[in-house]
């Protein structure tokens, strides 16, 4: 006899996501996919790396998200001279009752929502300060490990064109990001709307639509979404297909140096579950996996130099994998 789980109201997750998207859309013009992916990552409890040229609203998006969520928000501007202690905090000497002793001064990482702006401008040492925080959701300073607030959500931005004086994120750091979202240049219509909204005498004021508790509930609910075995196998086939030694695709064997990690599969499935809920469904479909495959896998596929020389991108590799991976129906 299987114990009956407490009933979960999945519609509230859908409503929450829709509220978030609607509220953010008041300030962010267009970029629906960007908003959808950001909400998916937030609901799944994952971190997001936003990549786009300057001026596309990456920072505005994160700041707006902070406004729509009743959660603590902090912004860290990553610069080459930024030190790890500037992020995670440090022990400083203070005066307590006439005694001088070390006190821990928490860094900006201690917030529900952290904006790591231009993360690739910091040195790898400083970038690595985020590793523990993003994966373990704890910070260790000295000998003491401190938990971060929950939910903990890092949104990092990076500029793909100004590479001088930047430090590309190492593979381990990239793998910690749930999604890597490319921020596209707005369409002409969107540009006009941006101009109208931001050049007037007033700008829209966003209201809070959710708090930390609602986000945590949504995260738990998303994990309960069932996924059929053959759909799960499809997700595994997708991830396997990114590896040159397992893929049947010539492009993968030729251009890919290393494929997605198991964390990529976890991301794919979890993001698929959230997307299913956002679509008003209670099960993961092939379409959900296909829809989240690009942001979930693009930063987990590491290409050869030859790919760069031939203008092959990870997105193109993923598209080919999606096109050629069979959605085999259940055989039982």
């Amino acid at each position: 006899m299987i114990a009956e789980e407490p009933r979960v109201d999945a519609t509230r997750v859908t409503e929450l996501a829709q509220s978030l998207e609607t509220e953010l859309a008041r300030l962010i013009v267009g970029q629906k996919a960007l908003l959808r992916d950001t909400v998916i990552a937030l609901t799944a409890g994952g971190h997001v790396l936003l990549e786009g040229v300057p001026g596309l609203g990456k920072t505005v998006l994160v700041r707006s998200l902070g406004q729509t969520l009743s959660m603590s928000f902090s912004r860290i501007q990553f610069t080459p001279d930024l030190m790890p202690a500037d992020i995670v905090g440090t022990n400083i000497i203070g005066d307590t009752d006439g005694r001088r002793e070390f006190h821990y001064q928490a860094g900006p990482i201690f917030a529900n929502l952290v904006l790591a702006d231009e993360i690739n401008r910091a040195t790898p040492k400083t970038q690595s300060a985020l590793l523990e925080a993003m994966q373990e959701r704890t910070v260790t300073v000295g000998t003491q490990t401190r938990p971060l607030p929950s939910p903990f959500f890092v949104l990092a931005t990076q500029n793909p064109i100004e590479l001088e004086g930047t430090y590309p994120l190492p593979e381990a750091q990239l793998d910690r990001f749930f999604f890597k979202i490319l921020v596209p240049f707005p369409s002409e219509g969107d540009l006009l709307e941006i101009a109208r909204r931001t050049t007037g005498d007033s700008t829209p004021q966003l209201k809070s639509v959710a708090d930390a508790g609602a986000i945590l509930t949504a995260q738990r609910t998303a994990r309960e979404v069932p996924i059929a075995e053959h759909v799960l196998r499809y997700a595994a086939r997708l991830v396997s297909a990114t590896h040159p030694d397992r893929s049947e695709l010539d492009s993968v064997r030729r251009y890919v140096r290393w494929g997605a990690s198991p964390r990529g599969l976890q991301t794919l499935v979890l993001a698929g579950k959230v997307r299913a809920l956002l679509e008003g469904r209670y099960n993961v479909a092939f379409d959900d996996l296909n829809s989240v495959a690009q942001p979930a896998l693009r930063h987990r596929i590491f290409l050869q130099f030859e790919a760069e020389a031939d203008g092959i991108t990870a997105d193109r590799i993923i598209s080919e994998i999606l096109e050629h991976t069979a959605k085999e129906p259940a055989s039982k």
Partner: protein, 519 residues
Amino acid sequence: MSSLEAIVRELRKAARRALGARYAAHALVGAVAWVAAVMILVRLVPFERRAELAVLGIPVALAIAAAAWLIRRPSAALLMAMADIRLGLKERLSTAWERRAESGPLDDAQRHDAVQHAARASLPAAFPVRVNRGEATLVAILAIFALALALLPNPMDQVLAQRQADRVSQARAAKAVADAKKKIADSGKPSPKDAQIQKILQDAQAKIHEADSPRKALESITPAEQQLQKLADPGTPALQSSAQNLANALSGTAAGRSAAQAISTNPAKGAQSVRDLASQLQSLSPKDREELAKALAKASQQAQNSQMRDSLSKASSSLQSGDAASAAQALNDVASQLDSLQEQENTDQAVAAAINGLEAARQGLAAQADRDANGQGGQANAGASPSAGASGNGNGNGTGNGTGNGNGNGTGNGTGTGGTGGTGGTGGTGSNGSGTGSGSGAASTERIYVPGQPVPGQSENDPTPLGPGQDVPLSPYTQVIEAYQQAALDATDQSLIPGSERDLVREYFSQLGEPRAAK
């Protein structure tokens, strides 16, 4: 749960319909492909029951498709997954079915959602009954191809017709042999070698019937004829001659006149009369005895059979010495020899009848074998050598005027036999033998002695005096024919001569031997 099972039932029903249509289409493709394959096959290999073979594939293909349709039962999970994909249900049904027994926080909602969406969808549409365009095109192409092959002339038709003709020919030949058997059995003149003759004919009939072709059947006839010829007694003519001489001698006596008539009628009656005469010797007058003794002495002198000569001589001398008992005993010996002659004549007649039956079979088989040869290899043999001897309607091949003698006009197709006992040219193998082969000049240059009836007192084996213009002695052909035949057959066996030509040689010598055997 029950709703999901109802969905599965509905999907299964639709899937069975769709699968049925698909397998029917497969069966149609298979059947038409089979017919086309048969049509191709019968153009490469002669096959008589082509229609039955072609039709056979249709029920077989249908049966296989039906069996596959019955055996193949897609699982419920597969049906649900297929329906998800085809109806755009976003894996709702397959997830619900897979987790139908689960009770997670969202499982009930998921199942409810799946059932709701399934209710809005047309489930049978997931498995539509439709004709695959590719299969339909394939069926059309194959059908047209098969029809074209069926309508176009088939080169194997000629082969089949030839086979049929071969079978008919062999059946007729076998019947001719069977008729000969029956004739011998019904003749009313039993001979001690009847069983052997019947056995030889039976074997020949079986071989003719079982042979692959008329040519093969022909090969079984000559050995049978040779076996039969061995059964004939070569001493029969000498004994016949002695008996006739005895009859001639007795006809001039008062006591032996009736015996002479009986001997002339047939040897068996003659034997009885001679026995009667032997029993009456005691009652004969001295004059009659002397007259009878002289006649017996004369017959003894003319007898070619040594036993007959001895018995007649003994009877004559005994009568002259007055020993009637010894004379009677000697005459009884003569009677026994006449009985023996009767048996030999019966055997010879049976052998002749058997050989006649075999020859009748040979004629039909040879004609068919020639037609076969022309039909199959006429193009290759056309004009191989000039057919001077026969101008048949068929492709004249083979040698023209061979070793004919006499002045007979050989009748066409291969083994023309001379019109007046001479043998025509072993000439052209016309396809239907309507040609008239003209006997060659061999008749005027080749010396072959044709024996007549030996004159009384002359043996057939005696050397014949030279004729006018003849510078070498001639031999009776009965002395040399067997040697000639053996030499010719040995030569054909050792040479690269086609079987049909070998048969011609055998047939030639068989025809030469026929009058002798019949006699």
